[in-house]
Subunit: 361 residues, 2 copies
């Protein structure tokens, strides 16, 4: 028998509960249940619009919830459901336009699906990266989307993520051996784009300041450079190819070495924009005409490439799309948790933005 509750009684119970709350804690579904004289279970179901709860009750629950300023305790539901609705994101640095933009797009997609993201930065340090992974796993994230630090060669910590049975998605800086989803651009093809462009500008002796070979993306860029040079039957000289940490300083260093050569290059393709900036500084300090004496192309399309003078040609990696694909891939994986992860690459096309540093007319 349902006892009809008149408004007066309801109001009384409401004010009583409110009083309790003032000197106690936050509202729980139990409080709402007490006010309406129903069970907490019914409240929980009403909140989720369960079809077995009457429209009247649902409305009443929502009404009281609002009045009591009810905020669901995420920890409790996460514990019960075995799902935190949190996704960890690990990037080398947030203060790069590329990563910041990737993150923004991941966030946009995942927020819509009820996920929140936890961003951590490794600062290119392997140790920090391990700490980040531990912290994320400790927080019970439902998955991890990561781009590896330059230093990282030991994959044990990433295997640890896999052993937890949660999806791991890599982007930009990935690793084939991990056998997980990967989203990135076609680095090999990007190198071809750059060499084609430089050749079309009349360059005949093209140097490459590359990243470390052990990182896959840089290895691909180097392979692309080598093959494209071969394709055009240009000189492929050891003294024209460097491995670099791709910092501004190292860009300066390697450019200085190139300038010291007897037979200087007439174009330099740098695998990172920061190093390209360092190279640009050295060229300017030495009064080299850019691009007529030496043309310059960077990689990453960092905003400053359009700010410096001359502006630097660079590869746009479509960070937005990478972020979106990473998020979508995670969502797919989460929907089918039983399927074992396999190496699954999504390779996007990159785009060369030609600016003054390589525009010879």
């Amino acid at each position: 028998m349902i006892i009809p509750i008149n408004t007066l009684v309801l109001l009384k119970r409401l004010s009583k509960t409110i009083k309790k709350l003032v000197n106690k804690k936050r509202t729980t579904i139990k409080d709402i249940a007490n006010v309406l004289n129903i069970s907490p279970a019914a409240v929980s179901k009403a909140m989720h619009g369960d079809s077995r709860i009457s429209a009247k009750t649902i409305e009443a629950v929502k009404d009281v919830a609002k009045k009591l300023n009810y905020q669901p305790n995420h920890l409790a539901s996460a514990l019960r459901k075995g799902k935190s609705n949190l996704v960890g994101v690990i990037v080398p640095k947030t203060n790069s336009n590329f990563f910041s933009s990737v993150i923004q797009n991941i966030e946009e997609i995942l927020n819509k699906e009820g996920y929140n993201i936890i961003i951590t930065q490794s600062n290119e340090s392997f140790k920090k990266e391990c700490n980040n992974i531990d912290a994320l796993l400790f927080t019970q994230v439902d998955g991890i989307i990561a781009s590896m630090a330059n230093e990282t060669v030991d994959l044990d910590y990433y295997e640890k993520i896999k052993s937890y049975g949660i999806p791991l998605i890599l982007f930009d800086r990935g690793e084939n051996n991990l056998n997980v989803d990967y989203i990135g651009i076609d680095d090999y093809q990007s190198s071809h784009l750059i060499i084609e462009h430089l050749v079309s500008q009349g360059c005949k002796r093209i140097a490459h300041i590359g990243g470390f070979k052990h990182t896959r993306i840089y290895n691909n860029r180097i392979r692309g450079y080598v093959d494209a040079i071969k394709k055009h039957k240009l000189p492929l000289d050891d003294e024209l190819l460097f491995e670099s940490s791709l910092t501004i300083e190292d860009g300066r260093e390697k450019m200085s070495q190139l300038l010291a050569l007897k037979n200087r290059p007439d174009a330099v393709y740098v695998a990172g924009d920061y190093a390209a900036l360092g190279a640009l500084q050295v060229l300017k300090e030495n009064n080299i005409n850019i691009p007529k004496d030496i043309a310059l192309v960077g990689f990453g399309n960092e905003p400053f490439t359009a700010m410096v003078s001359p502006t630097i040609s660079s590869i746009n990696q479509h960070s937005g799309e990478i972020g979106r694909q990473a998020a979508l891939t995670f969502l797919e994986r989460v929907k089918m948790p039983t399927v074992k992860q396999t190496l699954n690459k999504i390779i996007l096309n990159a785009e060369l933005i030609v600016r003054d540093s390589s525009n010879i007319n």
Copy 2:
């Protein structure tokens, strides 16, 4: 009576539990308890090194925990303890050197104390900021450290944080009316630093491209500019003072307006580096000699100020120290949760980095 367990029995139970785990879930303290034939409570206490648990048991527990690859369920302990050990951080953008560096330092300090941080970006959008706050509160963070979006004037959402009874700490972009802790630099004094410097370089007609007055920091910079100009008895002309969104584009726009004046300034102080960059571009396009014809000073010491040519003088905000102080303030607040929050400002001194754009010799 304690039944002595021989190694064989223990090993048997261990392998049995391991088998269970293979097709089930993660190790819990209950599993460990079963292996050692003690209660889960004892396991929990052993993990925390409770003095009432014998050294033998503690060692045994840790040993089994390692063997079973036990990882504590953070959600469960957080729920029970009413503490998530998560701190939310809200910034307008992560891809600025200032914010990225602040975040890094917050993280460093808080990680040491067992906290993890959740970074969210508002993209200078008020709506996004509100969403971020909701998301963080939903995740049951133990506190929020934030820098407000340019757009934000309505403080209801920040009041909401306060009503949760968790610490709220603001940095850089704050608001007096909220009555919470604030960490920032002395913007008023920074303007004085800049004007003193420009005066010492011989400048006599100094313009200011400022931020929006409704944002406190920009208001302080404007006030500092006005007072310093008055102090040196320089012309304080309406046409020399602008409010701006401080983007590159707006910097260009405002600089063009200054150049259109009959009586041009001989120095421009821009309240943000990006806008200063825009101003620089316009000056160069008009073949104005920097700094001889017009000197330029920015604000924020973004890395590109040292990259462009001429390099731009700017104010270093000591982002690291701001981050550290914000984190430490949070830790203090968390330790004394009963004390009501009050307006408590920590104002750090800023430093002017003089570069080519204002170095007249």
